[in-house]
């Protein structure tokens, strides 16, 4: 017969608390997903309906209604373009900061750190004016450029910390073999920091995909992204909870996918950021 030791009680207690915390974390997410599969009546019923037959009606409505597919494609185009271009420009800049010694290096490093702090709410006003004058208003290009600017500081910083881990000797021998600087970067360094690129890409994509306020201002009904589309579904009168949560689930989908597949590297990226400072 197993006797419960004093330590076991505290152990069970710890698990219970962690499980309760997990339930609190997951509960709203569950509600979001469940509501998207409920009928309209069920979303309003009290006491809440826990067991129900899921319906795909809302997903059908949003896909076949006017602009959802356009907004979805806008989101996809903007997020993937931003990620791709950010990585390339960021890798170039990060490599420059790591391997080269040049005038003004410290200034650029510090600037990269400080520029992270710029709040989007602050730059939208000047950007609104600037983009209007340049004709980039309501364009996906304008939006992508803005997201680039907001994401580059972080991207450079992450890629830089990964690049610093690579021994210089590898690059030196490549140089002696006649490889150009650009070649070293793209054929040697980047393949070696694939985890870093993955982490950075996830973060950039997440921000570009989830971003709301800048997209709200800089796009019109043809170029807007999904988060803005959701916000416009909420009216003072009735809220179509089924449809709104269906779009919300789709917006949250990349988050689920990334978390499921790369939780460890995401957390590693975040922790490294805080731990390494």
């Amino acid at each position: 017969m197993k006797v419960l030791r004093k330590g076991d009680m505290t152990n069970i207690g710890r698990y219970v608390i962690l499980i309760i915390a997990s339930i609190i974390v997951l509960f709203p997410i569950y509600i979001m997903i469940a509501t998207s599969f409920k009928t309209r009546v069920q979303t309003f019923s009290m006491p809440p309906v826990w067991l129900f037959i899921p319906t795909l009606k809302h997903y059908g409505t949003i896909i076949f209604r006017g602009q959802f597919l356009r907004h979805l494609s806008n989101s996809l185009v903007v997020a993937t373009s931003t990620t791709f271009i950010s990585i390339i420009i960021g890798a170039l800049a990060a490599y420059s900061l790591v391997r080269f010694a040049f005038l003004g290096k410290h200034v650029v490093s510090t600037a990269t750190l400080l520029l992270r702090m710029v709040p989007p709410a602050v730059i939208i006003i000047p950007l609104y004016i600037l983009w209007t004058k340049l004709g980039l208003m309501n364009s996906r290009t304008g939006l992508i450029s803005t997201y680039l600017a907001l994401n580059l500081p972080f991207t450079i910083w992450v890629l830089r910390s990964f690049m610093m881990e690579i021994p210089v000797e590898i690059e030196e021998s490549a140089l002696m073999d006649g490889c150009s600087e650009l070649g070293i970067l793209f054929r040697i360094v980047l393949p070696l920091i694939k985890p870093g690129i993955a982490v950075a890409s996830i973060f950039i994509f997440r921000i570009a995909w989830n971003e709301f306020i800048i997209s709200l201002i800089l796009t019109n009904r043809y170029t807007r992204t999904l988060p803005v589309a959701i916000s416009l579904c909420m009216t003072e009168i009735g809220v179509q909870w089924g449809e709104i949560t269906a779009i919300a689930v789709i917006v949250a989908l990349p988050a689920f996918i990334f978390t499921f597949f790369s939780a460890r590297s995401i957390i590693g990226g975040l922790t490294a950021g805080a731990v390494k400072g």
Partner: protein, 313 residues
């Protein structure tokens, strides 16, 4: 005669010297070339707008007048006006309460959970995966889900409270509960994140130090206060700064849950700036408030970093 291509320019060996010069030019300027795209984007899309915004704070300009009328120079008028405006001052007060309460709660709960989980816990990676979800999900989605939960009639929060015997609360429609609602939502979204970072920090403390302190017969609280907390002080500091800066920029959740209301009870500064510029049309005034926000953020950031700075021996 060999023909060579160098970045698309055809050069033949007769012009070896020229090619040498080009190559030397490129090698010398490679760092700058590599940095050029990034610098261009920073300068054009981040720095220029920030300075433009600062300049704009000394002018008066309506949103609808862009391209039609020129801005009017008014000197410090915007700054004087905002500090006399009850709307602005209330907004600053709401923001301060928001960042203060969320910070303390998130740090406290996050630290407590981290201390619980730091010992050998099986299945820790499952908890980690769960806890990273809230920050990965778009704030707009978070706002919408919680708005559903907070609904007084069919929302689940009132449902659970009713089971415990607490009567229906009109969460988002009353001034004194609206701010609490968005604070709770923020705590829900960010505490897991704080937990993960603090846990990572605690796990970097070498086991030997803890063992030695046990041999010196230190009890749990002594170990906690004198060893663990000081050792992760820099990490706590960075987490606090990151969270405070993010909280000061918070806008989306308030936008979709309450839009600043009822009244001004949830009108955080970022939202107030947004409304002043795009609804009130007053660009100069909004820019002045933006400058204030940036200075506020810098002050808080540097202040916190100083508090958490570890002494160098």
């Amino acid at each position: 005669m060999r023909k060579k291509r160098f970045f698309g320019i055809e050069i033949d060996s007769q012009h070896e010297r020229r090619e040498g010069n080009v190559k030397r030019f490129l090698t010398r300027f490679t760092p700058y070339l590599f940095l050029a795209p990034a610098i261009f984007i920073f300068g054009f899309i981040l720095l220029y707008p920030v300075f433009y915004g600062i300049t704009l704070s000394f002018f008066q300009w309506a949103l609808r007048d862009i391209g039609a009328k020129a801005p009017l120079f008014v000197g410090l008028k915007n700054y004087i006006e905002i500090f006399q405006s009850p709307y602005f001052l209330t907004s600053v007060r709401v923001t301060s309460i928001f960042i203060g309460v969320t910070m303390v709660a998130e740090l406290g709960i996050g630290m407590a959970l981290a201390l619980l989980a730091e010992r050998k816990t099986r299945g820790l990676h499952i908890f980690r995966t769960i806890f990273i979800l809230p920050v990965m999900i778009a704030p707009i989605v978070v706002g919408i889900v919680w708005r559903y939960l907070y609904n007084p009639t069919y929302g689940l929060i009132n449902y659970f409270l009713a089971i415990v015997g607490i009567k229906q609360i009109m969460w988002l429609s009353q001034s004194h509960t609206a701010l609490a609602s968005i604070i709770i939502t923020d705590i829900w979204q960010w505490t897991p994140f704080v937990f993960l970072i603090l846990l990572g920090g605690l796990q970097t403390i070498p086991d030997e130090i803890i063992e030695v302190s046990k041999i010196d017969s230190a009890n749990y609280f002594q170990r906690l206060i004198y060893i663990k907390l000081p050792m992760i002080k820099p990490i706590i500091g960075i987490t606090v700064v990151l969270r405070l800066i993010d909280a000061m920029r918070a806008l989306v959740v308030m936008y979709i849950m309450t839009f600043g209301g009822p009244g001004l009870s949830t009108e955080v500064l970022a939202l107030h700036i947004f409304k002043t510029a795009f609804h009130g049309q007053r660009l100069g005034r909004a820019s002045a408030m933006s400058v204030f926000l940036i200075l506020f953020m810098l002050t808080v950031a540097f202040g916190v970093l100083r508090i958490f700075r570890t002494e160098r021996r």
